[in-house]
């Protein structure tokens, strides 16, 4: 039987050659193992944040205080935001599938700097530990001060004045940002240097394009927020005055610097997710993707335009009207390449032989939820509408439809799609489909009422509300129960599939991209037996069958 990367001794290590399987995992430089470790840690934190959110929804089921007080509520939404944004969704798809799949897709044996990749993973772990440490720290008087209560955005001047533990949270965000930068750097060099011979940029799978565009954002935008967080830390320690109006500093400047990174960061989240969509749609429609180049270039242009739209977060913070108008226009503009992608995906399905397997269900569901999330985003890009809806449940609903209903749903799609490749086994499809429907119904129940509540003026981050909003909060609460059930059920099904699922062969889905053309499943250490020569497009189907086939020496035999 052929060996897989999961077997003992089948790995390279950063330091030495440890004998125990445990240390072989801890010190591994293999991109596939590192990706799996990221996934494991990320999903633990994901569920911590999910339950924090559930706690808030339970509290909001009725007006007034039930289980937690207002201060704790503030800390709860901060914890939820910090974990979800910095620990889960920013490493997100690149850390998991960028690591596991991207080198396989371009026919490389590993990333360009495998040791750096190992270091980056542990930097991420250090960041996680610092973030958690702020939960259990005490002030001089010995009272527990707990995690920041500022929201994940750390807006000055409140973040400079609050007694809660903002500094450790800021340090954590900085360390996690560094890990993100190094991942992006590693992937950029990998994609430039290690593509198999013959694979030009326009022969790369579209997921690689997504990762490539993302990596540029990680590299160029993250340092700006990094230094902003450092300035805020120095402000807390020494009072350098940069963001503190009592010393002449400008708190709005903090918002600018923060969003110069944090708005591109949402594209950093969504672009690899779109990449997953572009992988799944052709495979399960059995057709070559429609408009390959437009999808590839729209990824690049979303990354570019996304960099210059941050001002739409500051419509109500004090900005000149001309600046507002320009930012508003630029924000509309970013919807154009996104729209192009959606038309391309739908055109790919047209006259295709659509197979409604679980990954495809998630992808199709995302077309609906992300369309809602994206289009409501366009509405609040308008200055006038935004002044009405700023900081209401409307923008909360928009954000969650776009990020949960876009990024996370596609991450789940990817989990189900690459599951047979990564584990060599298969989950129970019926249960996986039930889990999808639970999530799909749940997300709409949970967040659609918030659009209405927000439109009628329900502010975000509030611990209490007027009685007329009760019905929306209660529908949301039911939706939260449904989606949490769906999430747990899905995870249980996947874990069970890995432990007890039946073994499957290579290329379970009949896909065309290189990661499926390994000789065994799961793939061995160092991937393909020989590096193939790429003289074909990534998604070539003929009468619903993949065109390109390889022999055991990776020579084409079709």
């Amino acid at each position: 039987m052929s060996k897989s990367y999961l077997d003992k001794d089948e790995t390279h290590c950063a330091i030495g050659h440890p004998k125990s399987a445990f240390w072989q995992w801890m010190l591994t430089v293999d991109h596939k193992r590192i990706g799996i470790m990221y996934a494991a840690v990320m999903f633990v934190f994901f569920f911590v944040a999910v339950f924090t959110a559930l706690l808030m929804r339970v509290e909001l089921f009725a007006p007034g205080a039930q289980f937690i007080d207002g201060d704790m509520f503030n800390q709860a939404f901060t914890l939820h935001g910090v974990i979800m944004v910095f620990l889960f969704i920013i490493p997100g798809i690149p850390a998991v599938f960028g690591n596991i799949v991207m080198p396989l897709m371009i026919g490389a044996k590993d990333v360009s700097f495998p040791r750096l990749n190992w270091f980056t993973f542990w930097l991420y772990i250090v960041g996680c530990i610092i973030a958690l440490s702020s939960l259990v720290t005490f002030n001089d008087a010995g009272a527990a001060i707990g995690i920041a209560d500022t929201g994940w955005t750390f807006y000055a001047p409140y973040s400079l004045n609050t007694d809660t533990n903002v500094i450790t949270t800021l340090v954590a965000a900085f360390v996690l940002g560094m890990a993100s930068i190094l991942t992006g750097l590693n992937f950029l060099v990998t994609i430039h240097r290690l593509r198999a011979p013959g694979m030009g940029f326009f022969k790369m799978p579209l997921f690689v394009w997504g990762i490539y565009a993302t990596a540029w954002i990680q590299l160029l935008a993250t340092p700006v927020v990094g230094i902003t967080l450092i300035l805020a830390i120095l402000e807390k320690f020494f009072g350098i005055g940069i963001f503190d109006p009592s010393k002449g500093g400008d708190p709005v400047l903090f918002q600018h610097l923060f969003w110069i990174y944090s708005h591109p960061a949402v594209y950093l989240m969504i672009l690899p997710a779109f990449g997953i969509m572009s992988e799944i749609i052709p495979v399960f429609s059995r057709r070559e993707i429609f408009g390959y180049r437009t999808i590839a270039l729209s990824s690049a242009s979303i990354a570019g335009i996304g960099y210059i739209v941050w001002g739409h977060h500051l419509y109500t913070s004090g900005m000149s009207d001309i600046a507002k108008t320009i930012f508003s226009f630029l924000t509309f503009f970013v919807a154009v390449p996104t729209g192009i992608k959606f038309y391309d995906w739908i055109a790919t399905m047209y006259k295709g032989k659509i197979i409604l397997a679980t990954p495809m269900l998630w992808a199709l569901g995302t077309i609906i939820t992300f369309a809602i999330g994206g289009l409501t985003g366009v509405t609040i890009a308008m200055v006038g509408v935004d002044i009405h809806l700023q900081d209401t449940y409307y923008s909360v609903a928009h954000f969650h439809y776009a990020i949960l209903g876009g990024v996370v749903f596609l991450l789940f799609a990817g989990l189900h799609y690459w599951f047979p490749l990564v584990t060599g086994k298969m989950y129970n499809e019926t249960r996986a489909k039930i889990a999808f429907y639970l999530n799909f119904v749940g997300i709409n129940l949970l967040w659609f009422p918030m659009f209405i509540a927000g439109y009628y003026g329900m502010p975000r981050r509030y611990f209490d509300y007027l009685p007329e909003f009760e019905v929306y909060h209660q529908v949301s609460g039911v939706g939260a129960i449904v989606i949490v059930t769906g999430l747990i059920f899905m995870m249980w099904n996947l874990i069970r599939g890995w432990r007890k699922g039946e073994k499957v062969g290579v290329n379970y889905w009949g896909a065309t991209t290189l990661e499926w053309h390994t000789q065994s499943s799961p793939p061995p250490l160092e991937n393909h037996p020989k590096v193939p020569y790429v003289d074909f497009n990534p998604y070539e189907y003929h009468h619903g069958e993949p065109v390109v086939k390889f022999d055991e020496n990776m020579k084409r035999i079709d």
Partner: protein, 234 residues
């Protein structure tokens, strides 16, 4: 399992062979990675220069007054020291490339000495400023007390200590990696034929001195013309 790199070829349908680039021994990749890292440094310091420029536009006179009180002599000496260290670093790389390993080591040591001198001078400067009551956390840079400086000066010194401090931190890191480089050279891991580590550290040092080339005029020189500031200075 070992890391030994076996060069590989891939064969196309006509049977033609193509060289495969592995991650091992990828000089171009190593260079590209480090250039990208330099880009992140530029973005980081760039953001700080942006902050600085913004506040300068709001408080021009305060900035000029604060700048006038800085010690241009020590700052100027440091600039020369750092430019010299960039020269020794570059010469070291040239020597390494031409096969003169001993000369390269000597040049790296010279760079380390100059970098240390820079830090020592910086230390004197900061000490003097501290003794004048101008330092992070001291009353002069806090608002609402009798020693408080005007807003613009608080912001100027806040950025001054932040940026020169971060720059100094880069110098310390630089000394650390140069010592490591010397160790690698001694161990025979960095050789005239395989000098990517030396190359990248030289690149790093170039960036560190380049940042100073912008930091120096922005902090020390904008108040240089204001003679009154020096005479009636703090």
């Amino acid at each position: 399992m070992s890391h030994e790199y076996v060069p590989e070829v891939s064969t196309d349908r006509e049977g033609k062979e193509h060289v495969v680039q592995g991650w091992q021994d990828d000089r171009e990749g190593g260079k590209m990675g480090f250039w990208l890292f330099m880009l992140t440094e530029v973005m980081m310091f760039g953001a700080m220069f942006l902050v600085l420029t913004y506040y300068f536009s709001l408080h021009q006179q305060d900035f000029i007054n604060a700048s006038a009180s800085l010690n241009r002599l020590l700052g100027g000496i440091n600039t020369v020291v750092l430019l010299f260290s960039a020269l020794t670093m570059g010469l070291g790389l040239l020597k390494m490339r031409s096969g003169d390993v001993k000369g390269a080591q000597l040049m790296i040591w010279a760079t380390i000495v100059l970098a240390t001198a820079f830090l020592v001078i910086k230390g004197f400067e900061w000490t003097a400023e501290y003794n004048h009551g101008v330092f992070l956390g001291l009353d002069a840079l806090q608002s609402g007390n009798e020693h408080s400086k005007p807003f613009g000066e608080i912001l100027f010194f806040g950025m001054y200590f932040t940026m020169t401090g971060l720059h100094g931190f880069h110098i310390i890191i630089g000394i650390g990696i140069m010592l490591w480089l010397l160790k690698r050279i001694k161990a025979g891991k960095v050789t005239p034929g395989h000098n990517i580590l030396h190359f990248n550290i030289a690149l790093y040092w170039d960036l560190v001195h380049l940042i100073w080339v912008f930091v120096f005029p922005y902090f020390y020189m904008i108040g240089a013309g204001d003679i009154g500031g020096v005479i009636h200075g703090h």
